[in-house]
């Protein structure tokens, strides 16, 4: 440990910041107090942060891995993972687009992603003219003008410890479930957003604009705080397929909305889903939770999930403040051997709280899709209401679509309505489209887009167009 600490100490003064030149430093394999101390140390974290991690780890030791979910996966040996490794050096990265998987390039072209962006996504050095870094810096200036803090988690711990200390772990406590607790112990980086009182964030915030966002690693931690009367729309991920070395992704995302604040969180997830026979692919076990802490606050989740071998996540809203609103819009598409178990939880605690859930699931190939959701109206949540609609579309008889809603109503003033349907694309619709000159694949694309429209509408404009294309691409080869 001693020499390592010294090394880190020396690196501090390095001109290009420590992220670029610590590539040889890797935490030893396995999970123990030392590894956690190592991570904390390398990130130069204050003591309270280390304590937070260690406390989470203590708790983690007591927890058992859950196994109630639908998609089963081979046992993960948590001692056989690296919990910290510095970003890859430029030498390991592909030099030009020619070195990439041609299939990946094909998809990029279909999505209409510009060349420079394709390169950036794969970590190829981009020429200075279209440097995303410079784009990002201009945005940063605009944000600072409004007093908005938008930085990496590590930076926030250093520069805004009072905010992090106050809010981190308040929505997803360190005593939460297995993966969330693991994340609390070993998280590497993520985004931090703070919107001051009364500020409407002038642009969509996106991980895309944050410089070292691409290498946050497998244990990402995001914290977004919207102070009184503020508004923010946050985009996570992108439509382009993302490859990653790490199989397990256990991120934590916490949202906090104070009085009259609104947070809109949109995700497009397109991680590597494994090959056609179901080999490889990413396990996306994410904990996302929003707390409507103040009166009249609103949190809205929108997600388009097309990637990952296994997706297992339930973006939730805790509606604590009176008159608060929670929304969940989701499209989940599984193809080949992908599996998804996703949905939401709406926990109504305050009076006059409202929630809305729209979930569209599409499964094709040999895949399995589960919507699992909870609507819980507490006895104090007078005059609350919920509306849930979850529709599933099946393509072929080798796949499955499941709906498992939990509905708990403890308040006689409140209303819950739930609807679900499962069906396939009707022959009539297909026939109609084909008659008008579309080929079967285009016809399915069109019908599916119509099926998903309610959710796609919720996405910010430029995202929606890409997401629409992505929906079509994800289902390629499933018709016939």
């Amino acid at each position: 440990m001693d020499t390592r600490e010294k090394d880190i100490e020396n690196l501090k003064d390095y001109k290009y910041g420590f992220t670029t030149d610590i590539e040889n430093i890797k935490a030893p394999k396995g999970l123990n107090d030392d590894v956690i101390k190592f991570i904390s140390n390398i990130k130069k974290e204050p003591k309270w942060m280390l304590d937070f991690r260690l406390k989470a780890f203590e708790r983690f030791k007591l927890l058992k891995e859950p196994n109630w979910q639908k998609p089963k996966y081979p046992k993960i040996d948590y001692q056989d993972l690296y919990y910290y490794s510095a970003p890859k050096s430029m030498n390991d990265k592909p030099k030009s687009l020619d070195e990439l998987d041609p299939k990946l390039l094909e998809t990029y072209n279909k999505l209409g992603i510009p060349l420079q962006e394709q390169a950036r996504l794969n970590g190829i050095a981009v020429d200075a003219v279209f440097d995303s870094v410079s784009v990002a810096t201009t945005f940063k200036g605009e944000l600072t003008k409004h007093g908005i803090i938008f930085c990496s988690m590590s930076e926030a711990i250093q520069k805004h410890p009072e905010l992090v200390k106050k809010y981190l772990g308040t929505v997803i406590p360190i005593t939460d479930h297995f993966f969330a607790t693991l994340n609390s112990a070993v998280f590497t980086d993520g985004s931090f957003v703070y919107i001051p009182e009364g500020v409407k964030c002038p642009m969509e915030l996106s991980t895309y604009f944050r410089i070292n966002a691409s290498e946050t690693g497998q244990f990402e931690r995001t914290l977004i705080i919207a102070d009184k009367g503020s508004y923010v729309s946050y985009l996570e991920g992108c439509t382009a397929p993302m490859r990653d070395e790490n199989q397990l992704h256990a991120a934590n995302v916490e949202l906090i909305a104070l009085d009259d604040a609104e947070i809109k969180y949109s995700t497009v997830q397109n991680w590597y889903p494994g090959d056609e026979s179901g080999k490889g692919g990413i396990y996306n076990f994410v904990t996302k939770r929003g707390l409507c802490k103040g009166k009249n606050s609103k949190i809205s989740w929108t997600q388009v999930e097309t990637g990952s071998a296994i997706t297992w996540k339930y973006p939730s809203c805790i509606l604590k403040g009176d008159n608060s609103i929670g929304e969940f819009y989701s499209i989940a598409i599984t193809n080949n051997h992908q599996k998804a178990d996703t949905g939401t939880k709406m926990i109504h605690l305050g009076k006059n709280t409202k929630s809305k859930i729209i979930s569209k699931g599409i499964s094709a190939g040999f895949s399995d899709m589960t919507y699992r959701g909870l609507v819980d109206i507490n006895s104090k949540a007078k005059n609350s209401s919920n509306y849930t609609q979850c529709d599933s579309l099946l393509m072929g008889n080798k796949c499955g679509a499941h709906t498992v809603p939990y509905i708990k109503n403890k308040n006689f003033d409140s209303n819950i309505a739930h609807e679900a349907t499962t069906s396939k694309i009707s022959e009539e619709q297909l026939h109609y489209c084909q008659q008008r000159g579309l080929n079967p694949e285009e016809a399915v694309g069109l019908i599916v887009n119509g099926f998903c429209k309610e959710v796609l509408q919720q996405l910010p404009m430029e995202f929606a167009v890409e997401a629409q294309k992505l929906v079509g691409i994800s289902l390629e080869g499933s018709v016939g």
Binding site: S392, P405, Y406, K408, N409, I416, H418, T422, S423
Partner: protein
């Protein structure tokens, strides 16, 4: 508890005339039960109402031994008036009388020595308990092409002679090709708190029809669990109606396997609960082959401190194309303290299916009450009228008009 189980089991072995083989068989089930214990909320199927806690709270000193060697006196006042019917009478878990007076005796066979093993997969420890402690298991066989002229009413009653606090009973039914059985379970337990565990096994052959009506109307302090396993062959129909209103705790569980093409299952239920009652219906419909159909409608009216739960599961196998599955659960919460839980579940592996479910819960619609009051009814009357209409919807689903009228009278709903 395991000591008590063992002790009572030994008493049964002593007093009954089971063969060695049977005793061994029962012992296995007993050991299974001792190992598993009563189901609790950690098990997904028991998430909403935890029976182990409810039993603990309500019954102190649970005991399992009933002396079946002595007969009980039948109290004719429990009999249902105004409907001619065949009878099976259980008193304190013992079959006192099997009476098929209205029927052609050659067409009905009653077999009392049947294989007691259980042919389907289950995790439920209450089935183990049942299999360990049931007395004689009768099988009623309706022969080919015979439709019972009159309904069969099974009376479940207890009296003060009962020594233990637990009753386990089981009946098996086999409906031959093109036969028809109308079966009413009538619960008339008047004695204090017992845990009653009922297990029925139905085997429906081609073109047969089963209509099962479970009526638990009169307020009593018993805790009740009922499990129906229904196996259905081609073109068979099963109709189940549940009125869940009387007992302190009642969980009705129905597992229906649609094994034959064009078979269909209908389940309709009413919860009408008051003070401290906790009731649940859990259904599993397995669509295992093409062209099968299921329909479920469950409605709850929940008063003070009451709690109802509905867990409905539609499973569609990848072979079961053209399945039609439907579920609807609705609840009216009348009081601040009432609670409704639902878990309507779809698990689907075939693409050419039509499956949907819906669930709605809330209070009585104030606009409707206003409308009725503006037409001269008072608040209470308006409320009653609305509830009446709400429940009538389910009763109307009963296909047998005679029984429908009987049930309307029992519930007190008007057209």
């Amino acid at each position: 508890m395991s000591e008590q189980l063992q002790l009572d089991f030994d008493k049964i072995v002593k007093t009954s005339n089971f063969t060695n083989e049977e005793i061994q068989f029962k012992k296995n089930y007993l050991n299974n039960f001792i190992k598993k214990g009563f189901p609790n909320r950690k098990q997904e199927d028991w998430k909403f109402l935890d029976i182990s806690q409810i039993i603990k709270k309500n019954i102190s000193g649970l005991s399992f031994f009933n002396d079946y060697s002595q007969s009980n006196k039948i109290d004719p006042t429990i009999f249902v008036d105004g409907l001619e019917h065949n009878k099976i009478i259980f008193i304190n878990g013992r079959i006192e009388k099997i009476d098929f007076n209205f029927e052609d005796q050659n067409k009905i066979e009653i077999i009392d020595e049947i294989k007691k093993d259980i042919s389907f997969d289950y995790e439920n420890s209450l089935i183990d308990l049942n299999s360990a402690f049931t007395d004689k298991v009768f099988k009623i066989l309706i022969k080919k092409n015979y439709s019972l002229k009159k309904p069969l009413i099974i009376y479940h009653s207890t009296n003060d002679k009962m020594k233990s606090t637990n009753i386990n009973l089981r009946l098996d039914f086999e409906l031959g090709e093109n036969s028809c059985l109308k079966l009413i379970d009538y619960f008339a337990n008047n004695t204090a708190t017992n845990f009653i565990n009922i297990f029925y096994n139905f085997n429906l052959e081609k073109d047969s029809i089963l209509k099962n009506y479970k009526i638990d109307k009169f307020r009593n302090n018993n805790l009740r669990y009922s499990f129906n396993n229904i196996e259905q062959d081609n073109n068979s129909v099963s109709e189940t109606f549940i009125l869940s209103a009387g007992s302190n705790y009642f969980k009705n569980e129905i597992n229906c396997n649609l094994n034959g093409e064009y078979s269909s299952a209908f389940i309709n239920g009413i919860f009408s609960l008051k003070e401290n009652q906790q009731h649940e219906i859990r259904t599993t419909i397995n669509h295992l082959i093409e062209n099968t159909k299921s329909y479920q409608l469950i409605k709850s009216v929940l008063g003070k401190n009451s709690k109802s739960a509905y867990q409905g599961r539609i499973f569609v196998n990848s072979k079961a194309q053209k399945t039609d599955g439907y579920q609807l659960s609705k609840a009216i919460l009348l009081d601040e303290t009432s609670e409704f839980n639902a878990k309507p579940e779809l698990e689907i592996y075939a693409d050419d299916v039509k499956c949907s479910h819906g669930s709605a819960s809330g209070s009585l619609n104030e606009d409707k009450i206003f409308y009725l009051m503006s037409r001269g009814l008072n608040y209470q009357q308006s409320k009653e009228l609305l509830i009446n209409g709400f429940l009538l919807d389910v009763v109307e689903k009963i296909t047998d008009s005679e029984i429908r009228n009987l049930i309307k009278n029992i519930i007190g709903v008007k057209e």
